[in-house]
């Protein structure tokens, strides 16, 4: 039996390093060397764990984070909005805005965070989701502070901006950014005050080109709040959840006057929007379909609960109330983060 028999790259979890493999092979052939190597590893690990700084984060409390990793897209947008952009070292897989993120390294997202990569970047703050308990535990063991970004209602967004600002020592900038968002939102609410409130169905997912597996916004969460702010009643507002599957029967029974669909596919064209609207022809009795008030919005701006909710609020107001909303139209449905999509009726 030769020393290399049965060994291949990465066997036994050693990793592809050739030097490591050679060690392993030698270890297999001669037991005493293997024992020494294992002992050396243990000692090395023990030493590393004791080292101050380096692998661990900053120890001194009160020190403001300077190297931030954020895998929550809404938090990333907030960071850039409050002036912490230059401090962001890496972002998650799904960040698209602002354009600066395209140049930053990606470290995974909700289901697949790349812990090794995050650790290798030596951050002093990592923004994560509340449900990522494993990741939080691992970062905690490595001594890296974690900021858990949660979002729920519209108010939580501006509260989150202020909180993050305080944490980063940018309280003033955060305050002005948050106040601006609140001001713009209030302006939208004011401009539609007194206008009749249509019943609106806010679709956040369904099978492409077919009316199957329709997911809508329930009566909880920032999308519902935006709809309410833009002067409409959520057709599924009585459901106490952020999202729910809407059966055909339920949609027919609730008779929405307007249907707004949100898609975050950035590469869609007008033709795609037309084809998606066509699917609703299966329910001609629904007032929204009958009156041509089915709208399809593409873009990440509409689904990220961050500072750009203002754009969403304006888009909703424009779609719901037309010119009476007082919001000028500009741009097309598929230009992300840009102007407000035009009202295009279903023929």
């Amino acid at each position: 039996m030769t020393a290399t028999e049965g060994k291949g790259p990465g066997v036994g979890g050693w990793g592809p390093g050739a030097g490591r493999r050679a060690l392993g092979v030698r270890g297999r052939a001669r037991t005493p060397a293997r024992g020494v190597f294992a002992a050396a590893c243990l000692v090395a690990v023990a030493v590393l764990l004791q080292l101050p700084g380096g692998a661990r984060g900053p120890q001194a409390p009160g020190r403001v984070p300077q190297r931030i990793v954020s895998i929550v897209p809404s938090a990333t947008e907030v960071l850039f909005a409050i002036g912490a952009g230059p401090r962001v070292a890496a972002v998650g897989s799904f960040e698209r805005f602002p354009p600066e993120v395209e140049r930053l390294p990606r470290v995974g997202a909700l289901l697949d965070p790349d812990v090794e990569r995050i650790l290798s970047l030596r951050p002093d703050l990592v923004v994560v989701y509340a449900s990522q308990t494993d990741l939080r535990a691992q970062l905690g063991r490595a001594g890296i502070p974690v900021y858990v970004y949660t979002h729920g209602s519209l108010a939580d967004i501006t509260a989150g901006m202020r909180d993050l600002g305080a944490r980063l020592g940018l309280a003033a900038q955060a305050e002005s950014a948050a106040a601006a968002v609140e001001r713009d939102l209030a302006a939208v609410r004011a401009s539609v005050a007194g206008l009749p409130r249509p019943r609106a169905l806010l679709v956040i997912g369904r099978e492409p080109r077919a009316l199957r597996a329709i997911t809508v916004s329930g009566g909880v969460g920032f999308l519902h709040d935006l709809l309410d702010l833009a002067g409409a009643d959520n057709a599924f507002g009585d459901v106490p959840r952020e999202s729910t599957m809407a059966a055909t029967e339920a949609i027919l029974a609730r008779r929405p006057d307007v249907i707004i669909e949100l898609h975050y596919d950035e590469r869609a064209t007008e033709r795609d929007a037309d084809l998606e609207r066509l699917a609703w022809k299966a329910l001609p009795g629904v007032p929204a379909v009958k009156n041509g008030r089915v709208h399809v919005l593409y873009g990440g701006a509409f689904v990220v609960p961050g500072p750009r909710v203002v754009l969403t609020a304006r888009a909703f107001a424009r779609l719901l109330h037309g010119v009476r909303s007082g919001i000028p139209s500009s741009g097309t449905a598929s230009a992300p983060g840009a102007g407000i999509p035009d009202l295009t009726p279903v023929t």
Partner: protein, 334 residues
């Protein structure tokens, strides 16, 4: 009248009535109360008649889809159990459903935005996945034998099932959370077809399968004894096995493409029917198809009403009924 003639007539009459009653009664039940007199009120234009819309657009297609899917899966279950000579076989044993599921997952995750003749990409991809699975399993069963080894078929099917299931998990993992959730939902089954088009798309395939099913029962009786016993009584064993395999797989593929992989129908219904009418496939096959239709329509009504206004996925109801039933079967057999 001989025994089998009598039993066939009685079974078709009884289960047929049950299926018809289920399809006619199901559209009356649901989370929104509707009134039959308003449904058929001609004086109100259809576009304004919500009760009629709910009845004809939402619920009736749903009942018909349930009947078609239930009948297909139950009949396919009977055929597979005879073909594999194993009462524990299901339409999903040989990997057809896993292939369907993989096709649907890929369509959802890759966001294939197309539709053919009103059939969505997910449905079409799901059926394509079923066809691939069938081709692979059949190819493997024929690879080394000039005949058709049901043992190899079973092993190939089970292996393919495991492999495709792993691929499905992988696709779910790389999908983002919204798509992953959608795939999970798809796997639970959904009969809310919103219109007759998806049913019409599945109908030709189901019709072809059922035509083959009409020819099979005698062959199935003999195949379930022994391949040699069948051959010595004049059955072309290879042809019968092929017809059984392809027709049952096609029915399963069509059913899964229409309503998702709804489990347990392919095993509960054949067992219950056998308990009532005996094992002769000439009676069991048509009776299972009819009872399967009634069963799934009933399960769908339960799914829509037990936690109204929230609708449960129908696959959960069939699993909740199927699991305990299975345990009872095992305990009873002792």
């Amino acid at each position: 009248m001989t025994d089998v003639r009598r039993r066939l007539a009685a079974a078709v009459a009884a289960f047929g009535a049950l299926a018809a009653a289920a399809v006619l009664a199901a559209p009356l039940a649901g989370s929104t109360p509707i009134r039959l007199d308003r449904v058929f009120d001609r004086s109100v234009p259809f576009a304004d008649n919500v009760d009629a819309q709910i009845f004809f657009i939402a619920r009736l297609p749903r009942a018909l889809a349930g009947a078609l899917v239930g009948a297909s899966l139950a009949a396919a279950g009977v055929v597979f159990q005879a073909l594999l000579r194993n009462p524990l076989a299901t339409p999903f044993t040989l990997g057809v459903s896993a292939g369907s599921a993989l096709g649907a997952m890929l369509a959802i995750t890759l966001r294939l935005h197309l539709s053919l003749w009103g059939v969505s990409a997910v449905t079409a991809a799901s059926f394509a996945g079923a066809v691939c699975a069938v081709a692979i399993v059949y190819g493997m069963a024929r690879a080394r034998h000039s005949g058709f080894s049901t043992n190899v078929l079973l092993l190939a099917g089970v292996t393919l099932n495991a492999f495709f299931s792993a691929l499905i998990l992988f696709v779910q993992y790389v999908a983002d959370s919204a798509e992953a959730l959608r795939t999970v939902r798809w796997l639970m089954g959904n009969l809310d077809v919103a219109g007759y088009r998806p049913i019409l798309a599945a109908l030709p395939l189901c019709a072809l399968s059922f035509a083959a099913f009409a020819w099979l029962p005698r062959a199935l009786n003999l195949l379930s004894l022994d391949a040699d016993a069948a051959a010595s009584r004049g059955i072309d064993v290879l042809r019968a096995q092929r017809v059984a395999f392809f027709s049952a797989s096609m029915a399963t593929g069509a059913a899964v493409s229409l309503g998702g992989p709804i489990g347990f129908i392919g095993i509960i219904v054949p067992h219950l029917v056998r308990l009532i009418v005996g094992a002769d496939h000439r009676v069991t096959l048509p009776a299972s198809a009819l009872f399967g239709a009634a069963f799934l329509v009933g399960a769908d009504v339960a799914a829509r009403t037990v936690m109204a206004p929230v609708e449960l996925p129908v696959g959960i109801i069939t699993a909740l009924v199927g699991g305990p039933f299975f345990l009872w079967l095992l305990v009873r057999a002792r």
